[in-house]
């Protein structure tokens, strides 16, 4: 673990503390206050609770070794129930308690509501799960970072896969006209056209929930596309692939993580075989990820749950930045996060100028014998 303090580093850091000991208001105490915010009760609690456990595992390990630069880390846990109106209270509470960095929030909506409060207080926030493009790409939240790829990263992942891995050149882009599917499809179209290696032969929206999609399938056939890239959810995708099979189309089907659901395989049955979908990065070969899971099992006697790896990674990344910068000031932390790579369960990550983790992305899966299998 990179966080354990080597002797030289410790002495350098200690010197730095002495040299620059102008305590800022928020780090006046002799502990580092580490906030954890997210849904810890309610129907989305299963998304938020794993991040508390992840933070606890990392922090306990560091505290056992004497803390960071001589300071112990104290956890402040606040529940936002994934609701924007409550998230603002959560953020206010954490800020007034003098928190130094925050792990969270979990839901994009709640995160957006809470961010202005942290921004005014100059506090670093890192989410393991909020994927809304706006959070990083709008530039409105310079103090926001995340260890999960934004929605916008999915389109290039799908397109790269279809063109470079599968070698297709004629692409039909279909979407469901919805808030999730349409931006994905538009992103894919733009990316294909900019790349210049392949052509978009068809770009259309379908009506979700319509009774059948024979006509659009005929249109795909006529367009001569050799692959369909679909932005949307699994009910429509399973109807389309079923009809495609009925009409004897051999066109490949590449889709997003809204389709990567077991219901898709259950409903589409044989027609689902050979369908490609994007999905959250597969970390099963990362030794840190497997170790973190084992730690969790030993400490809490169960499997970690959603976003655990991302939360574990975010905790390490933030504490590493505090250690390296020997400060909890936003500017100092940002500099470390954006320049230095740190080993985490989601890979060796640093962050780009928007706050998105570089090297964290999507893996592509293929349906094989009724299961999603990672395509290497």
């Amino acid at each position: 673990m990179k966080l354990s303090l080597s002797g030289t580093l410790f002495s350098v850091a200690a010197c730095a503390v002495i040299a620059l000991s102008v305590p800022s208001a928020s780090s006046a105490g002799d502990t580092i206050k580490f906030g954890v915010a997210g849904p810890h009760s309610g129907d989305l609690a299963s998304y938020g609770l794993p991040s508390i456990n992840a933070a606890k595992l990392v922090i306990d390990k560091i505290n056992a070794k004497g803390g960071i630069n001589g300071k112990k880390i104290e956890m402040l846990v606040e529940d936002d129930v994934c609701k924007p109106e409550i998230a603002t209270n959560t953020a206010t509470k954490l800020v007034s308690d003098g928190v130094d960095v925050v792990l969270g929030h979990i839901c994009s909506g709640a995160t957006k509501a809470a961010m202005p409060i942290y921004k005014d207080a100059g506090i670093l926030v890192m989410s393991p799960s909020a994927t809304s493009d706006e959070l990083t790409l709008s530039g409105d939240y310079p103090n926001f970072f995340r260890t999960i790829a934004p929605n916008a990263a999915q389109s290039p992942a799908m397109v790269d896969f279809a063109i470079n891995k599968l070698g297709f050149t004629k692409i039909a882009v279909i979407h469901d006209k919805g808030d999730y599917g349409k931006p994905l499809a538009e992103g894919a179209k733009k990316y294909i056209e900019e790349g210049g290696k392949a052509k978009v032969v068809l770009f259309e929206g379908i009506t979700p929930g319509a009774m059948d999609y024979s006509a659009i399938v005929q249109k795909i056939k006529k367009s001569g596309a050799d692959v369909v890239i679909f932005g949307g959810y699994h009910p429509e995708a399973s109807k389309i692939v079923t009809i495609m099979k009925k009409k004897r189309l051999k066109t490949a089907f590449v889709s997003d993580d809204g389709v990567k659901d077991d219901t898709f395989i259950k409903v589409a049955g044989k027609a689902a075989e050979g369908v490609y979908t994007a999905g959250p990065q597969d970390n099963s070969t990362n030794a840190m990820a497997t170790d973190a899971k084992k730690e969790h099992k030993a400490a809490f006697k169960k499997d970690p749950g959603a976003f655990f790896e991302g939360a574990y990674a975010a905790t390490i990344a933030m504490l590493n930045a505090i250690e390296k910068a020997d400060s909890t000031k936003l500017e100092d932390l940002k500099k470390v996060l954006q320049t230095e790579k740190v080993a985490t369960p989601v890979g060796d990550v640093s962050f780009d100028k928007n706050g998105d983790a570089i090297g964290v992305g999507f893996s592509m899966y293929v349906v094989k014998d009724g299961k999603y299998v990672v395509v290497k």
Binding site: K177, E204, G205, I206, T207, G209, A210, M211, D212, S214, A215, I216, Q218, K219, K221, K222, H234, P235, S238, K239, T242, I243, K246, K247, R248, L249, T263, K266, V267, A268, G269, A271
Partner: protein
């Protein structure tokens, strides 16, 4: 040309399904002047019944033909008994109430049935077994007209003929027509209006149940919400053709299905619904009673 034929058949298939559902709307409207908004849910219940029966029977290893027949009969019986009960509970007590009351009751019934199936079954999509096999003789043209398209077209055609014969020549058919023309007069000449109305609900929902089985088998999935969209589209088709008119419902459905299919094929599927509903608006502007509707003084 191939492309045109493909779109034509996919439009025809879609139109046939709309027709099976639209007939229920139009028959009920013709007799008691009520738009039965719960009719889409009857279609959905038909599909669910067929799903449950077919799944159970295939576990016991019944041959496919037997499964189709038994599931079809079960769906028809089950849907009809639902429709019969709904009429008795939700519409009959309101027969002499202002027109708006049974309409609201129908909307309430529709919401109730959706949520009932949601709670009793599941909110998830369920895989519907392929009850219509892939015929070997269809293989050379499977890319244009699939086996399930063919079965849907033929079934709808046969059902239409049977329905026409019932309405034109049978005793209950004559009673239905008489009740539709003048309910009071029909009572005076000794027709039991209540049982005629029940019979209308039963026939209409039997058609919807057959539609439910066919379309579910065609697209391979069902959930509790499918009745809503199917119901809206079929209702549109019934209005297009002239609500209350049986040939009108069939004509309206086929026109709607073909319009949607060609709009998707030649313009853009983004505008599929825009074309369908623009057509409806245009027809209603120039012929307010629908294509084959009779001009009556006032019904809703």
């Amino acid at each position: 040309m191939d492309y045109f034929i493909e779109l034509f058949f996919s439009g025809l298939t879609r139109g046939s399904i709309y027709a099976l559902i639209a007939l229920g709307y139009t028959m009920v409207y013709g007799i008691i002047g009520l738009i039965n908004f719960a009719h889409g849910e009857i279609y959905m219940i038909g599909a669910f019944t067929a799903f449950i029966v077919a799944t159970v029977l295939s576990i016991y290893g019944f041959p496919l033909l037997a499964i189709v027949v038994i599931a079809g009969v079960a769906a028809v019986v089950w849907s009809s008994s639902y429709a019969y009960t709904i009429e008795k509970i939700a519409y009959k007590p309101l027969r002499h109430a202002p027109r708006l009351s049974p309409l609201i009751s129908a909307i309430g019934m529709s919401i109730f049935l959706q949520n009932y199936v949601l709670l009793a079954q599941t909110s998830d999509f369920l895989p519907f077994p392929a009850l219509i096999p892939e015929f070997a003789f269809m293989e050379p043209i499977a890319h244009i007209v699939g086996s399930s398209d063919l079965v849907i077209l033929i079934t709808t055609f046969i059902v239409m003929i049977i329905l026409t014969i019932i309405i034109k020549f049978s005793k209950i058919g004559k009673a239905m027509r008489a009740t539709a023309q003048d309910r009071m007069m029909a009572t005076l000449v000794g027709i039991n209006v209540n049982s005629v109305i029940s019979a209308t609900f039963i026939v209409g929902s039997a058609l919807a149940a057959i539609g439910g089985l066919l379309i579910a088998s065609h697209i391979g999935q069902i959930n509790f919400y499918i009745g809503f969209i199917a119901g809206i589209k079929a209702f549109t088709a019934a209005v297009l053709g002239g609500i209350g008119s049986i040939p009108g419902a069939v004509l309206g459905s086929l026109i709607l299905g073909l319009t949607e299919s060609f709009a998707t094929g030649y313009v853009s599927s983004d505008y599929e619904d825009v074309f369908a509903f623009s057509l409806l608006v245009l027809i209603l502007i120039f012929k307010p009673s629908g294509l084959l509707g009779k001009t009556t003084n006032q019904k809703v």
